[in-house]
Structure formats: structure tokens, C-alpha cells
Symmetry: none
């Protein structure tokens, strides 16, 4: 049984040591469910390995506070360990940063705040680190849309205890060059598709990514080849080369605008859209977000990586990222969470929900 | 059981339909072995999937007539089909050109000529279309050098029934560009190795291949990217891109001269030699080659593709290419062999070996 009222660092270590790589969330979901059902002020719903726990006090506002239970694969970094490094007290281990630190804060505050000034919907979900089709929040939005209603969502992804607004969008395209195959000993009979891709790479190298101001936050875009493949055999002039390009775009762009940027850059080439996920505007000008920002303090920053705030945004719910641990430590072998961040985030939420 | 005395077009179709992509030659080698062992005038040795069948009549001269049994991968072009196209009767299918047409001629003549005026060494070998380490002729030259003795070698690679002298050399290098990996959402923290390969491709596109006169024959060189690979994951700026370049060079160049051409072209980049095979000078001024040329008639041309004539050349045996089918059809999806070429080659060999 998880001790939600005990030391929050112990709580983080306990849930970190229940390994929960995507697809293996059941044991942790069971533990969280048991702990939540022991809290009489919350009504709990389970959907697969996702849990939704709510107050229903008839408050004027309802806020959603969400986090995912799963992690990327373990890299010999479990069980967790607590060490002082560079003068900081830290918990090391897979998931401590992304994002069991946030989950520990959620659990501690869920137990502590029995009569919040805003109604609360706590969400703990599965399959965030894998493809969108399996994402637990995505599944909940289809199976139980009634549970995903609120005035503001806080996603407790690692932000080093600062508010990060919105997120960038991301798309991938395949840019193809065509040629004519021939034996490389008689290459003048063919046309080399790989040589033809040189111009595609040249345009990428010459491309200057935009910096875009959205709702007061500056987003730095990026246009990168993330893969290139070509070649049939060691003695054949290749007739096809495929450059996979990833465009990270500011959240002011919709699908058409993002695609237009890419097709303009690769004009004259065959461009196929492989996947796209729109960003989320920071939304910090919205009243619910401003109240949260005032309670937390500090200055908001833009979020670069794509996160599930975009799913809330698509549901019409303004959403921000806010959680313990430095985001650069996500997915790294030396993943860790500064223990001070746990207390900072817990106390900020307590202020916001009880003041 | 192959019918070596029957119609030579039927024989080509039969051996074409025994698929023998490099590494899968066993079934065809078995069929050829059975057919050869039924011929009492030949003594047969098998080495892996290579076969050597010899007469031993004490003639003044011994000639080697060689062909490989393997093909490049099938491209939906099996089983074979016989069609009249552009007024020509042709057999279509993987291997018909490179070089089962030549193998069919070898088999038909091996059966027909029981008392040749020159002693004969017929060679059928494996793994010609892959790296030199696995080449069956290369293996035979190490394991059974006693079988690779002769005054002249005829390699029955496709030449459209004309003598093609010598062959070009070939080398492959890996040209590498390096960068710094980063999450593609924060790509300004990294450096994209694929973008860096654009200049390598630009130099290849701008390169003008030389035409070189050797022993009276003009060789047209070629410099081609035959593969390109790069990329770690769909959301990572890649730190490495590798371009594999194939240089086909005239037979006047030794290893140092060929390498110098490549390292000069890619100055400033990391260049690693992957493999090299020197060419063979045409050697048509040698007496044994002149006797063969007189029997066949027509005018000699340069051979562009690297062929195993260079292995014979390195063993001190003058060697020429001579076989049915147009060499431009090798490795193509519409690979085919003109049936008239089968008869032309068969009859020329019969004249040479029985006159």
C-alpha cells in the first residue's frame, strides 16, 4: 500500500521501483488504484490501466491534473537510488524524471487536499511513451469523454518546476528523388537518385528555422532530415532515394500551414506526409491559466517537445506543462529528479487548490 | 535431368527456372553436376556449389570456358517466358542475360564436343554477384589451383556474342559525415550529419567521368553513390551519414591511382576503402586470344563491367568475355536473352573447338 501521506521522496522511490515500461503498467496502476480508493473524498474510475479520481463539490471551476504511469525501457537504472550530486539531493532511476516525480506530487496532493477550492479530476494513464493509437489519454477521450471535462489541465511532465506553455507540433514527410537504375559499370545509361538528393540536403542545410512568438512565448522551430535511405546493390545505380524530414513547428500553425512550409521548401520533389501532430498554443492568456500561473509564480517558458497538452488543447481545454525534474533528463540513462522540485511542485499545487 | 542435347532455348528456360540467387545455387549446381557426370568424356570435380569438368586428351593447348551459376535477386521476373519483342525472339527472366544464356551454351557445347582439338576445362561457379570473399572462382583458385591452368580463358558473361576485351576495375569506399545527436524538437543543440552529406552528393553530381584508351580500346569510367544511410530515430538529429561510392576505373590504373582519384574527390571527408578489384587490360594482342578472335570473327570491344576475367588475368591466363545476350540487360527487371545469340555463340565455340 502506497503511503501518500508520508515522505514524498520515499513515495517517489516506491513508485519508481514498481517497473512500468509501456505495456507493463498493471502493477503500478493496481497500487495507485488501491491508494486512491482509500480516499473517501474521491470517486475512482478505472479504464484499462488508467485511473480517474474526482471530487464533486460543485465548485465553479474544475481542473484536470494528469500524468502518465509508463516509462521508456529500463537501461540498468532500476531500482532507484538517492544520492547527493553537484550539491543536489536527487533520486536516480528510470521514470524518476519522466514522469513519476509528477505522479508522486499528484498522489501526495490528491490525498492531502480533501476540500479543494476548485473541483479536481486526477488522471493517471498508460501508454504515453508509445504510438498514439495506444495512448491511455487518447483512449479515455474516446471511451469516457464525460471524464475529460474541465476549465484547465495541468500535465505534470518534467519542466523543472516551471510552467511551460503549449507545445510545438511535429510532422514527418518522405521526400523522394527518382532516377533510372543501371549497372554501375555503365552508369551513363542510368540516372543516380542519390546524387539527385544532394539538392534536397542542400536546401535543408540552407534552411533557417523560424522563431515564432505565440501568446507571448517564443518558439524555435526545426527542420531536420532524420533518416536517409537509398541504394539497391553495390554495383547498381540507384533509382530511388528517400529523405525522411521531421518538421517541428510553432503552435500557431495548423496542418495546412505546416504542410505548406514543407512543400514549399521541397518544391519540385515528391513529398509524402507520413504523420502529423499539431501543437498546442500556450493559452496563458486564458483566465484559468493565469490563476494557476499566479499561484505557482515564476516566468512561463515555451515547451519544445510534443506532449499530451496538445490532446487537451484539441478537446478545447487550455493546458500547461508543469512538473518536477529537468526535461533534458527524460529518457537518459542517468535520469533523475531533484527532490527539492517535488516539494516545490507539491506546495505550489497546495497553494493553488486551497487558497 | 537437364537435356543438354535438346533445344538450347528450352535448356536456357529450364536452368533459368531453377532460381539460383547468390547463396541459393545448390539446386542448380546439383542439376548441372548430374548432367555433367552423365558425359563419359569429362572428369568432374565438385567444390561447394562449383563444378569443374575436364577433358584430358593430351592436346597442345588447354582452354578454360567459365560461367557463374548465381544471379542477383529476383524482381518478379521468374519463371522465364519466351516472347517475340521488337522482331526478336527472346527469353525473359532473372539470369537469362547474366549469365544463364552463357551457361546454356557451355552445357550444350560440353555435351556436343567429345573430342575437342584443344583440351577443355569447363567451370561453373557460385557467388559471383556478391563480395569477392565468397566468389566460387576465387575459392577454387585457392583450394584447387591445379584446376585453374590453361592457355586462354573464355568467360561467358553477356557480350551480345562479340568479344569484349579486358574489364574495368572497381572499388567501393564509404564516405562518412559526422554531426552531433540531439532531440529533433531542440535541433539547434545538435548538428545534422545527413545535411552535411549534401556536399558529398553535390561533388558526385558535378563529377565528370574520364574516357581512357587502353591497348586500342576506349574505357568509359563511372563514379556513383550506390548506397546512402543515416538516421537514428524519427525524433533524433542524426550524428552519422554514410555514402557508399562505387568507382569503376579503366584497366590502366593500379590500386594507388584509383584510390588517389577518390580521395581527391572527397577531400575533407572521412573516406574508407571497402573493397577493390583491379581491372584487366584487354590483352587481345596475345596469340591465344587472337586464335579465338579469328574463329569467332567480328570486332572486339572494351568490357565495362568488372568480370572474373580479371581473376584469370591475375593468375597469368589471358582471358576474354564472350557470351550471349546484351550486357545492358544484366540486373534489369526486363532482363532477357536473344535466342539467336545462343545459337551464334554455340556455333562459334563448336567451330573453334572442332576445326
Amino acid at each position: 500500500m502506497l503511503d501518500l501521506a508520508g515522505d514524498i521522496v520515499d513515495l517517489l522511490q516506491t513508485i519508481t521501483d514498481i517497473e512500468s515500461v509501456s505495456g507493463n503498467e498493471k502493477a503500478l496502476a493496481d497500487a495507485v488504484e488501491t491508494a486512491l480508493r482509500a480516499l473517501p473524498h474521491l470517486s475512482v474510475v478505472r479504464d484499462g490501466d488508467a485511473l480517474v479520481a474526482r471530487t464533486d463539490l460543485g465548485r465553479a471551476e474544475r481542473v484536470i491534473i494528469a500524468g502518465h504511469l509508463d516509462t521508456v525501457p529500463v537501461a540498468s537504472n532500476l531500482p532507484s537510488s538517492r544520492r547527493v550530486v553537484d550539491g543536489e539531493d536527487r533520486v536516480y532511476g528510470r521514470g524518476t524524471c519522466d514522469m513519476k516525480g509528477g505522479v508522486a506530487v499528484q498522489l501526495a496532493v490528491a490525498a492531502a487536499v480533501t476540500g479543494p477550492v476548485r473541483d479536481l479530476t486526477w488522471i493517471f494513464y498508460d501508454h504515453e511513451e508509445v504510438d498514439a493509437e495506444r495512448n491511455g489519454l487518447n483512449r479515455l477521450s474516446r471511451s469516457r469523454p464525460d471524464l475529460l471535462v474541465g476549465d484547465l489541465a495541468v500535465l505534470m511532465e518534467p519542466t523543472a518546476a516551471a510552467i511551460e506553455g503549449g507545445c510545438q507540433g511535429t510532422l514527418r514527410v518522405a521526400v523522394r528523388t527518382h532516377g533510372k537504375a543501371a549497372h554501375s559499370a555503365r552508369s551513363w545509361l542510368g540516372s543516380n537518385a542519390i546524387h539527385g538528393a544532394g539538392e534536397v540536403l542542400r536546401r535543408l542545410e540552407a534552411y533557417t528555422a523560424a522563431e515564432v512568438l505565440v501568446d507571448g512565448l517564443l518558439y524555435h522551430e526545426g527542420m531536420n532530415a532524420v533518416a536517409i535511405t537509398g541504394g539497391i546493390a553495390g554495383n547498381v545505380v540507384p533509382d530511388l532515394c528517400v529523405v525522411t524530414v521531421n518538421y517541428r513547428f510553432a503552435p500557431d500553425k495548423d496542418e495546412a500551414a505546416a504542410l505548406a512550409e514543407v512543400t514549399a521548401l521541397f518544391q519540385g520533389y515528391e513529398v509524402e506526409l507520413l504523420d502529423i501532430a499539431l501543437g498546442a498554443r500556450p493559452g496563458l492568456d486564458l483566465p484559468a491559466a493565469q490563476a494557476f500561473a499566479a499561484a505557482v509564480g515564476g516566468e512561463a517558458r515555451p515547451k519544445y517537445g510534443w506532449t499530451d497538452v496538445a490532446r487537451f488543447s484539441a478537446l478545447g481545454i487550455p493546458a500547461v506543462n508543469y512538473g518536477p525534474a529537468h526535461p533534458n533528463k527524460a529518457h537518459t540513462d542517468d535520469e533523475h529528479c531533484r527532490t527539492e522540485d517535488l516539494r516545490l511542485c507539491r506546495d505550489a499545487l497546495l497553494r493553488w487548490l486551497t487558497a
